[in-house]
Symmetry: C2
Subunit: 296 residues, 2 copies
């Protein structure tokens, strides 16, 4: 197996500007992402949302690729459904330019630092992730398996798929230090793929720490659906850290702490992410796991 | 002179949720802002924008109160113009409930910490500011005089007016620690006014440090109006700190530093604020000044 075509995506969410400006840079200077053994393409996922600097126009583009709920043309003509059809027709496995690997660039208001999102735990993806963490030691790996990302996200149309998630960054802003780190990770991926295609990569690590999705915690709400509490100061910006049962996770507007009522210690991520408030999600829970990497 | 009516405003910008949730709290528990010598009213400035969690629907409400450009009813029926007319008819000096002091609650993605914005440098306002900084030592005072805030902002309709600006906070999020500090400042203001009305306040400070507006710096742009650079890492989140001529302020996407070309040392604030990107503004420049407070 070799990688023949890679798609770099920014602006799947229109107000996540880091990815948008990185894609614009690569489109100005395509030699930066050119490699000899595969083709690198770029696309801005949701250009109208980028123009208006909002997450989406009618519905979340990154929840619009579900084949099972796939609407026949005309039945749901939201902007994002149309855009999803265009993107699938161009880059899907039955499209004009089927993609082997999508790298989708995101940012978040939560304090996840440099995060790699894996939707599939296959050997190719795990080895790529292990290589990246060896080159970028602050990079953490989150596995979304079980959270539906594999069936409705933009990147789900590719054979292999990863997202790079960077935070904390306010939506609608760019952070120059994180922009450069984001770009460096993309370069490391492209270099790895070049080596992979010529069988020149070696397994440098025997295991990989992965934060595995296990569920979400919603904000407490009143009868009218109004949220009643904020993220507790002790939890704010503490993404990945171990949260034990009984520890405070929310603070009501009246100043009362609400404890984590689960029975398992977990590692929350995406704590207080702005875009999840409309869904009522306060944080995503993960379990820290060590995965063995299979030798050649 | 006594203060008879105070208006607390949140959600003048719909995605600045701290103020919105503080106003909601005060509307649930009006006894928190009740004082014996004056009436305290509350209002959500831009409820439709709050509902959609965006800064505004058609135009910035906080730039819609300009009397000189005031449009006769019907000539500009943007949502915010209608809303500005409603608010003025209710709370303006010729309205049903003319307001002596507006306290407008804002938040920003820039790292201004706890900031008090003064549009007027009159004795009443300066003494209030000095009292607040004595009680909240991390509070900094910004004077917007000369920046048009006094003629087109929502708070411009009141006799006296201040804004509380808190950051860094991503739009669409709440920070519980800053929420509590925000509330504490509002309480200190209301207590001060109660004392003021009974002549029980004394001048505790003889001078006040003020960051005085002197201008703005725009992002560098190309021929098509696209921004070409980000805030330099050395300047990011360094609001208020002295910026000397020749120091880097921008980093192009290609990695080149751009220096501050002014001739005066300045103290930038609102560095990289998300909402200013659409106007092309990268930061607001101020000069740090010590103002003498006049004795009784």
């Amino acid at each position: 197996m070799s990688i023949k075509r890679v798609l770099l995506v920014g602006g799947t969410h229109g107000n996540e500007l880091m990815g948008v400006y990185l894609i614009k840079k690569f489109e100005r200077c395509p030699e930066l992402v050119h490699r000899s053994s595969f083709e690198t393409l770029t696309v801005v996922g949701n250009p109208r949302a980028v123009e208006e600097c909002v997450r989406y126009i009618d519905q979340d583009l990154n929840r619009s690729f579900d084949l099972e709920r796939w609407q026949p043309e005309g039945s749901n003509n939201s902007y994002e459904n149309q855009r999803a059809r265009e993107i699938r027709a161009k880059f899907g496995q039955d499209g004009q330019l089927p993609i082997d690997l999508i790298i989708d660039l995101h940012s978040t208001t939560s304090n996840v630092g440099l995060m790699l999102i894996l939707d599939n735990i296959d050997t190719f993806t795990l080895r790529l992730a292990a290589h990246l963490t060896s080159r970028h030691p602050t990079l953490r790996v989150y596995s979304s398996a079980g959270s539906n990302r594999n069936s409705d996200s933009l990147r789900s149309i590719a054979k292999y798929k990863i997202a790079i998630e960077i935070g904390s960054i306010a939506h609608g802003t760019i952070n120059s230090k994180l922009f450069q780190e984001n770009e460096a990770i993309v370069q490391t991926i492209l270099d790895y793929l070049e080596g992979y295609n010529s069988n020149a990569v070696e397994l440098e690590e025997s295991s990989l720490t992965v934060y595995q999705y296990v569920g979400v915690i919603d904000y407490p709400k009143d009868d009218k659906g109004e949220i009643q509490a904020m993220i507790h100061p002790q939890l704010q910006f503490e993404d990945y850290k171990l949260l034990n049962p009984g520890k405070p996770i929310f603070l009501t507007f009246e100043g009362e702490a609400i404890a984590y009522s689960g029975t398992l210690a977990v590692n929350p991520v995406f704590i207080g992410e702005a875009a999840y408030m409309e869904k009522g999600i306060a944080m995503v829970l993960t379990e820290e796991k060590k995965l063995r990497l299979s030798p050649d």
